[in-house]
């Protein structure tokens, strides 16, 4: 600090020295003129001048008014003020750290999940295709289906049109059975994930190989040598970072592929998800999928596109050009004789291009809402923290009144005092902001784990977020500093010196009171919200699911990967049914296309024999294929008829069990047994006969009421894919031993039949509620933090009011007032403020509740229990916060109180 001051002082120090020197010389000269001796005159002049060093020092103090020095002085003084009241500083810095830290953390997360660029070359120029019908699906914000055929890709490949380059890829990864070439036959296949991409995929993205090369356009031809690129992660995990991996051969679903390279370390694909193991050329679709070739199929839509815009081109312009290409392609396909209606349809077909540089992300869809809700919550917490600190600063006005009055009396300009108080506030918030950033990084680690965010999303310090943090830090400093600063600088210096404050009676409703109301109201919003979410979660967790999820294992296998043909499946399923149900410790075992709360669903329109829906009514039916013992395994009550059983073989009539909702909807009050229905409309084979009615299960979404649903016999599978792999096993024994026995049974059936996944039904149900639970937990935590801050605010205000009224209290006690009356008198203020705060907060809470309706389940926005709980909690806490200082005040003896004043 001394060095800093020195920069400004040295020159003026010399100047001042010269000035004083001149003064002394002139005084001595005058004395000599009056006849004194030279030596005596000089001594007398010095004596008359006084302590020269002190004069210089005092004069120097006046220089501190220079703007930079003044700022430095303000900062130094601010730091001193902070040190002087450690309690206040700690509370303020902590609440700021919490507010700013939480905001920084959530914003970093939003930034990372919502708008992080793919680790590819110049991602801003990448665009994704979408068809303009499935609105939003290609915005990268949702799930979507594949929308283009291979012939269109071939057409586009010939002329990239408006793009610098354009490539195709299959949206989903495909599961393949993998073994290293030359490995012994007795070793079971491994499961691997392959992504089918066009030969120029890596070129369009601008991704290079870490080792070897990436795919080339010539690799992607029907007669090309099968080659594959592996991901860096797979190279590390499976090949132990073997530098000689290039040239090795792997067998994928029976076809040998030569490894030509390892992709760049950070690259994971165009989708925000874990990198696949293999990238394979599109031309090998038949071998990889083990299906008929789609390479010439006009009507199989299985591809997505990503284009790289030419520098300076816009997505809009490119979309117009590529739309024209698409229409031209369709017209060419349609041939010479085109019906007018077809022509019209072709002219309506269009391609919309959306920014693709941030990749396609399911996370974005999943987390957009909860993250924005959390952002609002932490924003409110920060506001409360601001109001809280402003309250405390105002309460401190009492302690600092003398200081500021003295300074005003000494001639300090009001503006200068204002500036100083603001410097103090900003200093405080910068300290809080720094602590907040530390808190943010620390909590981000936890949040990433809690939210289960894929590690390919790099959650890291973001310059934009840090700038935002800095801005909110400064803004909060100004926000809570401005009222006290204004207050201090408007003190009437002269009147204050003459008249001492002796306040009697109730204090007026001022800024302190308003700030308390704000804090209580905002806490009320958060607490009601947290209460509603907690009630929703409780309802979700305790609701009737229609099945019992405890003690049920889900073991997934992949018969297709194991090489089963469609006509071999019935035998496999029957053998599985026999063997699994014989394992000791297995109560019952079944099979299903997918399991409850797995995130899968299948539905479509259907027709019932002899049933005509009322006009305009769509008949929609959810369906799932299940094996024998399905309801027995899930313990779902069977209400009528029988369940799907061993007799429902491919040669038997097609059987179906429907749920109660189906009956209520289509056969109210009647027995549906024997009734027949089919998919599509009108009724057409295959036709299913209803053989039983089961209780409603919440099969697809724990939040949704059951819809009409049919359970079809898996052994009679009619769909395009009869491969089912989820085994449901209810156990009575220890999980590990059952799983081991299941593995042995599978191996005995076919050594290629491996367990590809394994979980428990109750975990799966729990997981489907994980997000809800996390949001509920976080909002409760923030709700209580808000309440704590409000309590500190109330405590500070009451303590301050009491300190101002110590004299009054003393007089009252001396005059014989009861302590209870004094207590009531003091508490009245905090009770009134709390009430006003709650009354302001409740309408806000209702509005907020409507906004989070998507997260509520089984409770109304105006849920009386949640509201009552919030009010009781706020009332208790604020009473306690007010009671402590009030009780302390009434304990002071009258003599002390009077002396105090």
């Amino acid at each position: 600090m001394k060095q800093f001051d020195g920069l400004f002082r040295r020159r003026r120090d010399e100047d001042l020295s010269d000035e004083i020197e001149a003064h002394l010389a002139m005084a001595a000269h005058d004395r000599v003129e009056r006849g004194e001796g030279k030596v005596e005159a000089e001594a007398a002049a010095r004596r008359e001048f006084g302590n020269r060093a002190l004069v210089q020092e005092v004069t120097r103090e006046m220089w501190r008014w220079g703007s930079l020095e003044r700022l430095w002085q303000d900062i130094r003084f601010g730091l001193w003020t902070m040190r002087r009241s450690p309690g206040f500083t700690t509370v303020a810095v902590l609440s700021l750290a919490l507010g700013i830290g939480a905001n920084t953390a959530i914003l970093t997360l939003i930034e990372a999940v919502m708008s992080q660029w793919l680790p590819v070359k110049d991602p801003a120029r990448l665009v994704l295709f979408y068809d303009g019908i499935n609105s939003g699906v290609y915005s990268g914000r949702g799930y979507h289906s594949d929308i283009f055929s291979y012939p269109f890709w071939e057409f586009l490949k010939k002329s990239a049109g408006p793009f610098e380059d354009v490539c195709a890829f299959r949206q989903s990864n495909d599961r393949v059975a993998m073994h290293l070439a030359g490995a012994s036959d007795s070793e079971p296949d491994e499961r691997a994930e392959a992504h089918l991409v066009a030969g120029n995929y890596f070129r369009v993205l601008g991704v290079s190989a870490a080792i070897g090369r990436t795919l080339r356009l010539e690799d992607d031809a029907a007669n090309a040598v099968p080659v594959a690129v592996i991901s860096y992660r797979y190279w590390q995990d499976r090949f132990h970072s073997d530098s000689g991996v290039v040239g090795k051969s792997v067998v994928l679903n029976g076809t040998a592929f030569t490894l030509v390279g390892v992709a760049a370390r950070e690259f994971f694909g165009e989708r925000i998800r874990t990198a696949p193991d293999f990238w394979l050329p599109l031309a090998f679709q038949p071998q990889v999928l083990q299906r008929e070739s789609w390479l010439a199929a006009q009507d199989v839509y299985w591809l997505n596109f990503m284009g790289r815009l030419k520098p300076g081109d816009t997505a809009q312009h490119a979309a117009a050009v590529v739309t024209a290409q698409l229409q031209q392609f369709f017209l060419a396909q349609a041939g010479t004789d085109v019906a007018p209606s077809t022509r019209r349809k072709i002219h309506e077909a269009r391609i919309v291009l959306k920014p693709g540089g941030t990749g396609i992300s399911g996370l974005r869809y999943l987390y957009s809402e909860p993250l924005h809700m959390l952002m609002a919550v932490v924003g409110i917490v920060l506001l409360i923290a601001c109001a809280n600190i402003a309250t405390l600063l105002l309460a401190r006005a009492a302690a600092r009144r003398a200081e500021f009055m003295t300074r005003l009396a000494l001639g300090a300009a009001p503006g200068r005092i204002m500036r100083q108080v603001l410097t103090e506030s900003v200093l405080l918030s910068l300290t809080g902001g720094l602590a907040g950033i530390i808190f943010a990084w620390w909590s981000l680690k936890g949040l990433v784990v809690l939210l289960d965010i894929n590690p390919v999303v790099k959650v890291r310090p973001d310059p934009a977020v840090l700038i935002f943090t800095l801005v909110i830090t400064l803004l909060t400093g100004l926000l809570y500093g401005v009222i006290p600063a204004w207050r201090f600088s408007n003190m009437e210096a002269r009147s204050m010196t003459l008249v001492r404050y002796a306040e009697f009676g109730r204090s007026r409703f001022g800024s302190t009171q308003a700030l308390i109301v704000v804090q209580v109201a905002l806490s009320c919003v958060l607490l009601v919200g947290a209460g509603l979410l907690a009630r929703s979660l409780l309802k979700l967790e305790t609701q009737e699911m229609g099945f019992q999820d405890g003690q049920v294992l889900i073991v997934s296998i992949d018969p297709q990967m194991a090489g089963y043909q469609k006509n071999e499946l019935f035998a496999l399923y029957r053998e599985l049914n026999e063997r699994l149900n014989q394992i000791p410790g297995v109560v019952s075992a079944s099979l299903a296309r997918y399991t409850p709360e797995s995130g899968n669903s299948s539905s479509g329109n259907f027709s019932i024999e002899g049933y005509t829906p009322s006009a305009g009514k769509e008949m929609n039916l959810y369906s799932v294929e299940v094996g024998p013992h399905f309801f027995e395994t899930l313990r779902t009550p069977l209400l009528m008829g029988r369940e799907i059983g061993e007799r429902d073989t491919p040669s038997a009539p097609l059987a179906a069990v429907v749920n109660q909702k189906f009956v209520d909807t289509y056969f109210p009050g009647q027995s549906p047994l024997g009734k027949r229905f089919s998919n599509g409309s009108p009724l057409r084979p295959p036709i299913f006969e209803i053989v039983g009615v089961a209780a409603n299960e919440r099969f697809y979404d724990v939040r949704q009421q059951a819809e009409p649903m049919a359970y079809l016999a898996a052994w009679q599978a009619q769909g395009q894919s009869p491969y089912f792999g989820d085994l449901l096993i209810r156990t009575s024994a220890d999980e590990a031993s059952v799983v081991a026995a299941v593995r042995r049974a599978l191996f005995a059936i076919n050594k290629k039949l491996i367990v590809v996944n394994f979980t428990r039904l109750d975990h799966q149900v729990e997981e489907s509620l994980a997000q809800q639970k996390l949001i509920t937990d976080l909002s409760s935590v923030f709700g209580f933090i808000a309440l704590l801050l409000a309590a500190i605010g109330i405590y500070g205000t009451v303590a301050y009011a009491v300190s101002r009224r110590t004299f009054e209290i003393g007089v009252r006690i001396a005059l014989g007032a009861q302590r209870q009356n004094i207590l009531a008198m003091i508490l009245r203020e905090s009770v009134v403020l709390t009430l006003v705060g709650v009354m302001v907060g409740l309408p806000l809470a209702f509005a907020a509740a409507r906004w989070i309706k998507g997260f509520l389940f089984g409770v109304k926005a105006a849920d009386p229990l949640a509201i009552a709980a919030a009010i009781v909690l706020i009332a208790l806490v604020s009473l306690l916060a007010g009671y402590i200082p009030a009780a302390r005040a009434t304990k002071t003896g009258p003599a002390f109180a009077l002396r105090y004043e």
Binding site: A22, H23, M62
Partner: protein, 122 residues
């Protein structure tokens, strides 16, 4: 400020004029032209008939502060005795300040005078 105040404390009992009043006297002394610090103290002393003696410990801080406030400005010059000295002179703002201080002083003097006279009569 507070640290500054602590350091000025030893001088406190010696400052007998209210700060505003000292400012006014200095401005008044500069009304007819530029003067150096010594000259100002001599002028106030002579002008008050040797009653008011401005301490250098008050004078120089006041001068430097008023320079900061823009009421006066300083320039190095030479006295008739060829002594280099720092000359202060009024600025426009200083002139305005002097007028303001003067009228305030007159009000206060009248008010206090009135009070003293009333007490005297009682």
């Amino acid at each position: 400020m507070s640290t500054a105040m602590a350091k000025t404390e030893p001088y406190k009992d010696r400052i007998e004029l209210l700060q505003g009043t000292l400012d006014m006297l200095i401005l008044q002394a500069l009304r007819w032209g530029a003067r150096h610090g010594y000259g100002i103290s001599q002028a106030i002393r002579a002008g008050s008939g040797e009653v008011l003696q401005v301490e250098t410990g008050s004078l120089y801080p006041a001068l430097h502060r008023m320079e900061r406030q823009g009421w006066i400005k300083a320039e190095w010059g030479t006295t008739e005795n060829n002594q280099r000295a720092k000359y202060y002179q009024l600025t426009a703002a200083g002139k305005k300040q002097l007028t303001r201080e003067h009228s305030r002083w007159k009000q206060m003097a009248a008010a206090i005078g009135g009070l003293m006279n009333a007490d005297g009569e009682a």
